[in-house]
Each structure stands twice: as C-alpha cells, then as structure tokens.
C-alpha cells in the first residue's frame, strides 16, 4: 500500500514527527517572510496536533478541504514541503504552478480537493464533495478543516444543516484557535465551543483538547468511523491556540500576554515529546534524530523553492477555462 495508508496505523511517534515537520516548516516559512523572500502567509504553529491527529486517521481515498491556514494539513497528508514553499512563493514548481500562493493550495493527487481562503468558502464546498461521495459506491468520506471564525459566517450553518438533512459523509473539523485574525473569539460568540452549534442541526459533535495529539488521534478515529459507517456528518472541535500572529509578519501587540503564555506552556509538541520520553517510548537521542531529519527536509525544501523559477507570463491567462 501507499505512504498514506502506512501512516494510518496511527503511531503516536509518527504523529509527533509530522508535528515536528509542520512546526519546522512553519517557522522556516515565517523566517523566509521576515527575510522578504516570501509573501505574507499564515502559520499553524501551536495547532500541529490537530492536523496530525485528524489526518493520520484518514484513508487515501478520503477527500480533504481546507483554508488559508493549510500547510499543516498538507504536510500531514504527505505533501512535499518543497512544493508548498514554492507555491507560497508563487513559483512554477508549486502545487498550483504558483497561481494560488499560500491561500488556496489544493493537491489533487493527495485528495486535497478544494481550498478557499474566503473564510467559510471551504464550508460552502464541503457538502458537494460529500454529495459526490454519497452518490458513489465508495465509503470514502470528506473532511473539512475550518476555524472558529468561519463558524460565525452564516455559510457554516447552511453547510452543517444541508449535510445533516441530506446525510452527507462529511467530517467537520473546527480548529478553534481562539483567534479570528485580530479579534479574539470571545468577542464574536457567547459560547465557548463551536460544537455547541451542532446540536440543533442533529449533528453529533465533540470538543477535545486540540493540543494533545493522543486525544485528537482518538477522537478523530471515532469521528471518522462514525462518518464512514453512518454516512452522516459529525463535528469535531479541536480546542487549541494560534501561537504566532494571524499572518506573517505580526507583532501580536493585540494579544493578551498571559493567555499566550499559558497556552505556550501547553505546547503540543513538548507535551507529547515528554510524555513519550517519560513512558520510555522515545529517547532524547531518537528525538534529536527526528528533529534533525525534519530540519534537513525543510531546509532542502526551502532551497528547492528558492531555486525554482517563477511561472511565465503566459500563465496569467491559462487554466481559466477548461
């Protein structure tokens, strides 16, 4: 079987390495931006457990939709970091030939079928992907990642309602990272959990600690099983925190220092790293090797992207119509 199917065995160690890869990638990405080698983009630092934990539960034929904060999802799905960097930089070797940039990257070969940077766009498209699957013979499912901010767009409710009424196999994963660009979630909704909205639609839901990858792996396994077997939607909320700013560069002047510090103390990578060490599953040496491996990969990837050419000007008008 393929790379992705192997990943599905859900080893926590593998999830950890995915998280390390995401972290390293995102920090490199921010550094490239700071050095003016890359345009503005959004990182998912602090949220790695959600991407790794959910996506490791998916099958190769499951389909993914995501949003502006997608690098973690793409990497967890097995995307080449070099081609993501290249896409962010607008290079021709990017997954979308540099046309997307960081905000709408889709990768057909990996089943990352649709990405929209319109907040809520991914939610508007998800039932249609679920519909295609529900009308096919397959038992594959669609998974849509979205933020707590997207949950305040009306389309969230239209999407959830339609998926419920039509029994569509869509797993809704809300990465509630407490921020909606420069506005704290608390300013935008009275409930603490986006999952609370699901009940009235008749959609089962659960909020879990999004910083504990073992918890996410577990909850996502159950959620995926439910959607796959019941052919109905489910909403999983990974409660987490956006550790860096909304979009690089960002001085985070508007961020409550204590809240940030308290979430940093619950860093998802440190958390699982030390747990695995404590339980004797990993030694410091093994951990160091893992970090080195991902660092090397990310450095090579960045170099690949930096060395890649921009698309030709003819690309301005290709791919508009089929």
């Amino acid at each position: 079987m393929t790379a992705i199917e192997t990943v599905v065995d859900r080893s926590v160690t593998e999830a950890l390495e995915t998280m390390m890869l995401i972290r390293t990638f995102e920090e490199k990405s921010a550094a490239l931006r700071a050095a003016n080698l890359s345009p503005n983009m959004c990182t998912s630092v602090g949220q790695e457990a959600s991407a790794a934990g959910v996506i490791k539960n998916l099958r190769e034929d499951d389909l993914i939709l995501t949003n502006h904060r997608s690098a973690g999802h793409l990497l967890a799905r097995g995307a080449e970091p070099g081609r993501i960097f290249a896409e962010i930089m607008g290079k021709s070797t990017g997954y979308c030939k540099g046309k997307s940039g960081s905000l709408h990257i889709s990768v057909k070969e990996l089943g990352v079928v649709l990405t929209s940077t319109i907040v809520g766009g991914e939610l508007s498209l998800a039932p249609g992907v679920g519909l295609s699957l529900s009308m096919s013979k397959s038992d594959a499912i669609a998974v849509v990642f979205f933020g707590d901010g997207a949950a305040t767009e009306g389309i969230f409710h239209e999407s959830l309602n339609l998926a419920a009424v039509w029994n569509l196999p869509v797993l809704y994963v809300c990465e509630n990272n407490q921020w909606q660009a420069y506005v704290h979630r608390k300013e935008t909704m009275l409930a603490d959990h986006v999952s609370e909205f699901a009940r009235a639609y008749g959609v089962p839901s659960k909020t879990v600690d999004g910083n504990d990858v073992e918890v996410v792996l577990d909850a996502a396994r159950n959620a995926v099983d439910y959607v796959r077997t019941m052919r109905k939607p489910y909403l999983l909320e990974t409660y987490t925190y956006r550790v860096r700013g909304h979009m690089e560069p960002d001085d985070q002047a508007y961020v409550d220092k204590e809240e940030l510090a308290s979430w940093k103390r619950r860093d998802p990578i440190s958390l699982i790293q030390s747990r695995l060490q404590r339980d004797g599953e990993l030694t410091q040496d093994e951990i160091d090797v893992m970090w080195q491996r991902v660092q090397q990969r990310v450095e090579d990837a960045a170099q690949f992207a930096l060395d890649s050419p921009y698309p030709g000007f003819d690309e301005m008008t290709t791919d508009v119509y089929a």
Partner: protein, 320 residues
C-alpha cells in the same frame, strides 16, 4: 418541430441531459416539488429539494462539480444570486485557475429575471453583467424556446460554470423547438433578421422589440439587421463586427440598466474594432438606472420599447 414554452424547453433539456449522462443532477428550492416527474424517472438522489439557502446550494454545486458530478441548480430569481456570489464567483469561477488547472467546475446556475411578474426589484434585476465581468464563468440568456433548450443543453455539457438567465417575460411564450437533440453552441450569436442599413443588437425580451422595430423600419424603407446575442460570455464578436462592418450603424438594446452593462461592452467593442466602418455613434437603449418598480405599467415600461428603437435608428440614419 413542436411548439412549447421556454419553461417547458428548460425541463426538456434537463430531462434529456439527465438521461444522457448519469452525472447530471438537479437541485434547488422546490426543484423536486416542481420536478416530481423527474424524481420518478431519475430518483430522489438526482433531483432534490434543498433548504432555503442559496449560498450552500451554489457551494454544494461547486464542490460536487469539482469531484465528478454535473449539477444544475435553480436559484429562482437573479436578485437571490446575491446570496451565492462567493460560491459562484470566488469558488466556481476562480478555483480552476487558482488550483493551476487541477479542478474543473461543470455546473449550471439557472436564475429568472426581468419584468413580467410585477413583483419589484428584489425579484427583477438584470444583473447579468456581474457575471460577464467575472473571470471563469460563461453566461447565456436566450430569447426563444428553441434557444432555451439548446443553450441549456450546451451549458450542461460545458466543462465550465455557466450562469443561465431566463427572462421571466419569455418563460410562457410558446415557440417552435426542433425535434431531437437540439443543441445550440455557447458563444454564437443568432442573426435573427438580415439587413443592410443598421444593426440592432439585443438579447432576451428586447430581441422581440428589435424585430418589431425592424418591421416598422422596413415600412420606412430601412433594412435593419437584428442580432440576438444569446451568449453574453463569450460574446460572438465576429458576428457583431461583420454586421457593423456591413451596416456602419449599431444600436444595442437591453432591459438591464446601462452602467457597465452588456450594452456598454458591446458598444465599446464595436467602437474600437469597427471604428472605421461606423457612420454614426453606437447608441445604447437600456432600462433606466433605477430599481424596477413593482407597479405593472412602470415595470412594463422599464425595458426599451419598439418605438424608442425605431426613433433611435432613425436618428442614427439621419447622420451622414
């Protein structure tokens, strides 16, 4: 040949394409209620009522189109498209390009518009130019039952998102439709009447007004060519320009308001590309730049009438 209404032509086209291609599905607010016969033939999975939510109807169509289905959605009235602009414009129109060509969005959005029902500007707003101006979309707006059928069939077969506008005033007017698999290509205007002195360019309900005007002009010894655009995007520039090269005069007529309308685009194309042939300015006759009133006489007067077309043509012809 049979005589049916445009409304019937829409259903015929849909039924035939659903028989032809099992990927074609139809949904919208009341689609299954109105199309209960389609439900009987094609099953409840392929013909669906939806909740009352245009955004998710269009978004679902886009998501389904990207992953193998060919949805035809009914968004009822053009002003309701305001709730589906992200899905039609930002998703269906742009995501093919933004994905570097990885995905296509073969979907058709049907919406009614124009005067005919006396229910006011939140049901009657000729906003077709929004979609003409948006990349990645095609836009059609037929004037005869035959074109309703033939263009809808082409739209369903097209690999791109097509917005199909149905002029309310034409829906229940009967007309002849050829038997069999009647397909009208998108992007091809129809020369409804040949003429040599002036070109009247229009689409939807005002095509008929142009034909009426051409009859009157004929009586006055003026030979007017009448062109029905049918396809607003892509526009059939070749047919337009050939006609104006011949006549040297053009009047563009539509119910939609003037500013940045299809008439502006047509006038600008002619003024640029047939400049040498023009003997008089290209004139636009459009609805007023105002919401459409519900009041029936006001609604009926909104679209340009034959007498105004005759007058404009006569003015044009009076210029050297």
């Amino acid at each position: 040949m049979r005589t049916i209404t445009a409304d019937e032509a829409i259903t015929e086209a849909l039924v035939e394409e659903m028989r032809r291609d099992s990927r074609v599905i139809a949904f919208g607010e009341g689609t299954a209620t109105k199309g209960y016969k389609l439900v009987e033939e094609f099953g409840a999975a392929r013909v669906r009522n939806t909740p009352l939510a245009e955004g998710i109807i269009a978004g679902t169509a886009a998501g389904a189109a990207a992953t193998g289905l060919r949805p035809v959605i009914d968004l009822l009235f053009a002003p309701f498209l305001t709730f589906a602009m992200d899905e039609i414009v930002n998703s269906a129109g742009k995501l093919r390009f933004l994905s570097g060509g990885q995905f296509s969005f073969p979907l058709v959005t049907v919406a009614r518009t124009g005067g005919g029902w006396a229910v006011g500007a939140q049901h009657n707003h000729n906003n077709e130019s929004w979609f003409v101006s948006s990349p990645g979309l095609k836009v059609v707006m037929p004037s005869t039952p035959a074109d309703f059928k033939g263009l809808l069939k082409s739209a369903i077969r097209d690999e791109n998102p097509v917005v199909f506008f149905a002029d309310i005033g034409l829906l229940f007017v009967p007309g002849e439709v050829p038997d069999g698999d009647h397909v009208v290509p998108i992007g091809k205007a129809d020369v409804k009447r040949e003429g040599s002195d002036i070109t009247l360019i229009s689409y939807a309900k005002t095509v008929q007004k142009c034909l009426e005007a051409a009859n009157v002009l004929q009586e006055n010894g003026v030979s007017a060519e009448v062109i029905d655009l049918r396809s607003l995007k892509p526009l059939d520039e070749a047919t337009l320009l050939a006609s104006v090269q011949k006549t040297g005069r053009a009047i563009v007529v539509h119910e939609a308001a003037g500013p940045c309308g299809v008439g502006a685009e047509v006038a600008a194309i002619i003024a640029e590309k047939a400049f040498g042939a023009l003997k008089a300015p290209v004139v636009r006759l459009t609805g007023p730049d105002a919401p459409a009133a519900a009041s029936f006489p006001l609604e009926a007067a909104y679209a340009p009438q034959a007498d105004a077309i005759v007058a404009a043509a006569t003015r044009s012809l009076s210029r050297a």
